[in-house]
Symmetry: C2
Subunit: 368 residues, 2 copies
């Protein structure tokens, strides 16, 4: 079995050039590329350069405007609301998080919402920007409707992720980044490609009941009828707390869509009645300064202590290791920075196509 | 089958008098009683007056100091950190949320953490205080270790609830209040009393693997060895996202315990090595003003619209109704305000005992 790998820096430059060819500035294209490649580095390939194709299509279709510049429409010492003008999600997100951090450095907390934006990649990217200032970072986004509310058979809500990160002293930073659904849609795609059935409790077809058939779920979602979808974190019904995931996903939609003036629930679609449409996605960013509560050194030492105690908890029978959030991803990043990023066949194809079309050099790692 | 009911106002006054007899001021005792009775009214009996006995015991044992007054130890225009001086959780919580609201009314956001506190009852109580000012309210608390991190067999973290509420225009307010575990411990007790087995995926015994035996789980937890416990939201392992609930519970512990200087993880115990100990519980309160992002009328109208759309989503096969968060509890409250609060036998006994001991009138509703 041959495996294609690419050095992360080469991949970032390549992706950046593709987005620049689509009309974005060098800086804006950098954020798109850096977000995607960082996701690959951290092992979250569902949000990696495989997405590049969708962004290019979004620009070509017209629902992403690559030259749009974000505009602050409401501003106060700790809060801003920002119109992304239907621009690329990543530069809009970076802009929003920078505003939140700047306000936080002045007041101890800063919040920025962004509306009329696009898919912003992986949520943790923005939250982690807070770390270099020793701040807690929070990032959320709403997204296209893929998740069914408890007891419904309609995809009404996005997988609406929450990222929360906190600085540490000697341990690696604590990085939580989770979709509020049981699984991301990418996981269904993986099972579907392998022809495997999915565990009951992950997703539903048009009946609203749990199914083992990923193809049917994906087919329904792609047809855009919103029949069936992924269950919220906690699964089907209320027995294992599915209403809690449904609540958290709705909370994210309130903080990203309802409060910002952007879209929420089923309005978050790239196509409406077959025609391309700005999804008008919303994001929520917050930075919080621990030094307003307790000495920063004490906070970071306590974070270390918490992390060490969690890692050293006794293992369940048959388990080898207890992880803290972010740990797996940092280890994967170390590995991939050294060995390169492995790419699946479909992604290699789409990158090769871009290379030809835009005449941009594409250099994979020679296997020997 | 006889059922004992009591009028909520009578119950509140009774509970308030009990706490006053234990040395608390009239106002502080009011908040304890009002929190417990409001929880009963909303149908959350696990956090109702059944808890009164534990508070009385906590005061007698000495880990709750009923005359303590909270002290603001760090203060800035938008953030405060408050030492509860090991006082009752409810007055400390109300104090903290009031500080957060006051700051929010000045700046658009206000945050207060409270440390060295005690059990504060149900989390939504404090978040809902924001509603009368048309603010979003957030409330979290850490709590005694009952939850196992993913892949561990040790109860390391609390059921650490998150409450988030948002104002509306004509619909009832959106009130989310959830433990970050699959179920609260009270649910295991209900199954245990009935001699029923629990669904796999709720809890684990000393092996760290899922069990159907609630007695064993509870026995381990009560022995205080921290062997086994409840699974985080998402259940056992990572297959259904248990690591996400583990992450959310840890996030709550960071915001309540680590940042405030209070206890976190397994330090949150009422007894250490058999001796009574201040648990030094921490809370996190936040108020956020939607009018800093968008016109408040528009926000409330959009909340209404979101709620109506969720309620009107198509039902899954065999399901009768889709709920939004808070809806069930408001309906229960209407019912119980009219018909009285039903009390289980054990609670009736403990109230009757207090009535005798403290010579306080206790008046149940006459059934006819």
């Amino acid at each position: 079995m041959s495996e294609t790998r690419i050095h992360h820096e080469d991949l970032r430059i390549f992706a950046q050039q593709v987005i620049m060819k689509m009309g974005a500035s060098e800086e804006d294209a950098f954020y798109v590329a850096d977000n995607l490649v960082t996701s690959n580095l951290r092992g979250i390939d569902s949000h990696g350069v495989g997405r590049l194709k969708r962004y290019v299509e979004g620009i070509r279709t017209g629902y992403i405007l690559p030259q749009a510049k974000p505009l602050v429409v409401r501003n106060s010492p700790v809060i801003a609301n920002i119109n992304a003008m239907n621009g690329l999600g990543q530069p809009s997100g970076v802009f929003g998080m920078k505003v939140a951090i700047e306000k936080c450095l002045g007041a101890g907390v800063g919040i920025a919402t962004v509306f009329d934006s696009n898919h912003y990649g992986f949520a943790g990217y923005y939250a982690m920007m807070a770390l270099e200032h020793d701040l807690i970072g929070i990032s959320m986004t709403n997204s296209e409707p893929l998740v069914v509310p408890t007891f419904s058979r309609n995809a009404m809500i996005g997988t609406n992720p929450i990222a929360f990160v906190a600085p540490t002293k000697t341990e690696r930073t604590w990085v939580m980044d989770l979709a509020t659904s049981v699984v991301p849609s990418g996981k269904l795609e993986v099972y579907d490609r392998k022809g495997q059935s999915i565990p009951l409790g992950w997703a539903t077809d048009e009946t609203g009941k749990s199914t083992e058939n990923p193809s049917q779920v994906l087919k329904n979602l792609y047809r855009g009828l919103g029949e069936g979808g992924i269950f919220p974190l906690g699964g089907e019904g209320e027995l294992h707390g599915g209403h809690k995931g449904y609540g958290l996903a709705t909370m994210v939609d309130i903080l990203c869509g309802v409060i910002s003036g952007g879209n929420y629930l089923r309005d978050l679609k790239f196509f409406k009645e077959g025609k391309p449409s700005h999804p008008r996605i919303g994001h929520f960013f917050m930075a919080l300064d621990p030094s307003y509560f307790i000495d920063i050194d004490s906070f970071k030492t306590r974070m270390d202590d918490m992390i060490v105690r969690l890692k050293n908890a006794e293992r369940a029978e048959g388990q080898g290791r207890i992880f803290v959030h972010g740990e797996k991803e940092f280890e994967e990043q170390d590995l991939r920075e050294e060995k390169g990023i492995p790419l699946d066949e479909r992604t290699v194809e789409s990158l090769t196509e871009f290379s030809r079309e835009f005449s941009i050099d594409l250099k994979f790692i020679e296997s020997n």
